[in-house]
Symmetry: C2
């Protein structure tokens, strides 16, 4: 089997056999296929596409490239939740505690900020003392005791994915739908879950800009799950404007606290509850999805979710008081207001621009080795559709340094569009797949 022939066949749109795909991934992760052939294969895949069978094989080979986490000693159905990455997307920190409070076992293996999008681990680590580097044994123990544990992906989980992702990042092949699907699913499958709720973001602030692409990615991931005997459901949700009002690590933890006390933004609350309901349903706690929705709602209102989150923060070494006393969280030293240039309606808030600006002043990373400033970010004062007067505050940029602040402010300014007429209302949850 020659690598160049496989590249050419994928380039020409051929389907590769399971043996061929496995050869590529195995040999690449062992260093026997060089980066320059793999990057050509990835670009060929971007154009030549892959079907369910191919993506499933690729995913399986990536899982096999590393070790898997064995959760079989923890009795019960384990349900994970994953988002393809958004701006202001803190739903994991809300849906997971609510689902856990309902009795679902939630092994949350999360990632870090990437590009303009945030990462659950970075958000959690803005809580003083919070420890995400649990051992596998601790992870199982916490899961048994609290139904919920948060942990970072270890280097041993799907290392082929890690190697491929780094290559994709510098070769313009991030946006390939089969590559996105197999990357996500390889990590999730290696983590020992039984079921998975996916939040596939679509729009200006997401990696996938078009709904047709998001649908395809969702369908592929559901198919990969099915072929691995895992129940997977995917929501396709709007990411044209940031979710909720807060963007930035500690700022988002504050909004999580408010939301778990039923005082959060409508969009964030709604999506978090729907994700929690799907987790409860897939976790077989209720017989119907409607029962699951009712249960999630109840556990939010009675404060069970909020208490669960506090319990887990404490269990992982964090200071749970931060949820009541925001001054215990890292706080920015300055705030810069962005004002509306005219009277009108907010017709767009480009989530990518807001995310990039936030990353630029320290909330994200330019390279993997950068450290994150937990205090900084953006808080919107308005959402799309709202009426504003000229000079009204559209948002505030919370910062700790002046470096790149002007540049970030310009980006945020450009993110807002204020028009004479009200924009059409947009659905938050666009589709369900699986």
């Amino acid at each position: 089997m020659r690598t160049v022939d496989l590249i050419r066949r994928k380039r020409d749109g051929d389907e590769l056999s399971a043996e061929e795909i496995t050869f590529l991934i195995d040999q690449y992760s062992q260093g026997a296929i060089p980066d320059y052939q793999m990057s050509a294969f990835l670009m060929a895949t971007y154009f030549g596409d892959m079907n369910d069978q191919e993506v499933t094989t690729m995913t399986r080979a990536m899982v096999a490239s590393g070790s898997t986490i064995d959760l079989s000693s923890v009795p019960g159905v384990k349900v994970d939740k994953h988002s393809t990455g958004g701006v202001g997307d803190k739903t994991s920190l809300i849906a997971a505690p609510i689902a856990a409070a309902c009795g679902v076992l939630v092994p949350m293996m999360s990632g870090r900020a990437l590009g303009h999008t945030g990462g659950t681990l970075d958000k959690l680590e803005s809580i003083p003392g919070f420890r995400t580097n649990l051992t596998a044994e601790e992870f199982r123990e916490h899961l048994r005791m609290y139904n919920l544990a948060f942990m970072g992906q270890t280097a041993e989980v799907a290392p082929a994915d890690g190697k491929l992702y780094a290559l994709r990042d510098v070769t313009g092949t991030i946006e390939s739908i089969p590559l996105i699907a197999s990357s996500i699913m390889s990590k999730k499958l290696a983590e020992g879950m039984d079921a998975l709720v996916l939040d596939v973001k679509v729009g200006a602030g997401a990696f996938l800009k078009k709904q047709v692409d998001a649908r395809k990615a969702a369908q592929l991931m559901v198919a990969i799950g099915r072929r691995h005997d895992k129940r997977v459901q995917a929501l396709i949700t709007d990411m044209n404007q940031p979710l909720g009002y807060a963007v930035g690590n500690a700022l988002e933890v504050m909004e999580v606290s408010q939301t778990l006390q039923n005082a959060g933004p409508t969009d964030l609350t709604r999506l978090s509850l729907e994700l929690a309901a799907r987790m409860i349903f897939l976790g077989r706690v209720t017989m119907t999805l409607d029962d699951a929705r009712e249960m999630a709602q109840r556990k939010l209102l009675d404060g069970s979710g909020y208490r669960k989150f506090k319990e887990v923060i404490k269990a992982q070494g964090g200071d749970a008081n931060v949820l009541d006393r925001f001054d215990l969280l890292p706080n920015a030293t300055g705030a810069r207001e962005i004002l509306s240039p005219r009277n009108g309606y907010v017709s767009a808030i480009d989530a990518e621009y807001v995310g990039l600006a936030s990353a630029m002043i320290g909330a994200g990373r330019a390279t993997k080795d950068d450290t994150v400033d937990p205090a900084v970010g953006v808080i919107l004062e308005v959402k799309v559709g709202q009426k504003v007067d000229a000079g009204a505050v559209l948002c505030r940029i919370y910062h700790t340094r002046d470096e790149r602040l002007e540049e970030a402010a310009e980006l945020v300014e450009d993110a807002f569009r204020v028009s004479a007429s009200a924009p059409e209302e947009r659905e938050l949850i666009l589709e369900v797949v699986g």
Copy 2:
């Protein structure tokens, strides 16, 4: 300027600026852009394409990556000839001597066998003593004295092309039309020619399988030439069956000798004369193309081309007697006949299969460092359209070893199609571009 952004833009079909293309080629040839990014860029170019302007810039940057050969001290119009690669294509060894005999200066910088196609240098080196590694000074001197000199491309000519070609070869990006065009033209432009006649092969035995692709490649090369103030004309010619009867290095030299004595195959004679005529016309020896055709014909018939080739062979250290005494050339030790399985008409002779089989028994190379067996190859006994009886000899495989002979024989057998009805006649010269 970030390489990944340029990859992404080309992937999305954007036009890159001259500055951007130059950056890519310069940085790559200096080793500042790694292979894995360049291979992704090449695959993106395969799909995203390039326009005249981009290909011209790329070509210019590749020329600038090395040294150029200065032929300005040789007075007169220098006309080169180049084929995109075929099977049995020995026209250079016929057209160049005829054109030189007509007074055209012909600096022939040639390549070696590649894949299933032959190479002019390998053919010449089957002549005992023939030396292709002339110095630039010798090359100029021979050109002045004999109007014609044959030489291999040196490593200093367009080294960026050499580096890119090696990468394309292992990453499935050979077949990209803009990459083919810039690769050919960068070498030709670095060689100091004033005008160029291109033979763009199309069909089963060519790198370009479709006429629309061959046309596009021809148009691009003509455009690159024009933007460099060089006159370029391209013939698009059929390569569905081998050209002439002989495939293999010494075997082709024998056929060249016959053809230069006006006893060669019709197709080979016709194409060689047309190429020579274009060279004579672009070399401004005649005012009209028809005059050039008439002159080429005359110089073939009166033996001037034949004598010129002998003169040049002698000048470059070769034994010119081989043209009269084929036993002085390397000869195969065995011949294997391929017979017609039935009565009928030869409806196809797949040139790629014949070329591959010939390469397999030693006439070509699997890797750059392989040596070529000058004696071996295939001689057709029939051409497409000919009527044959069951058991008639279709061709003979001339070999020196048994290794891979069976495999080659099977390939050659598969190359022939014998059908009940006569095939439609196909044009040899399909189009002229430029």
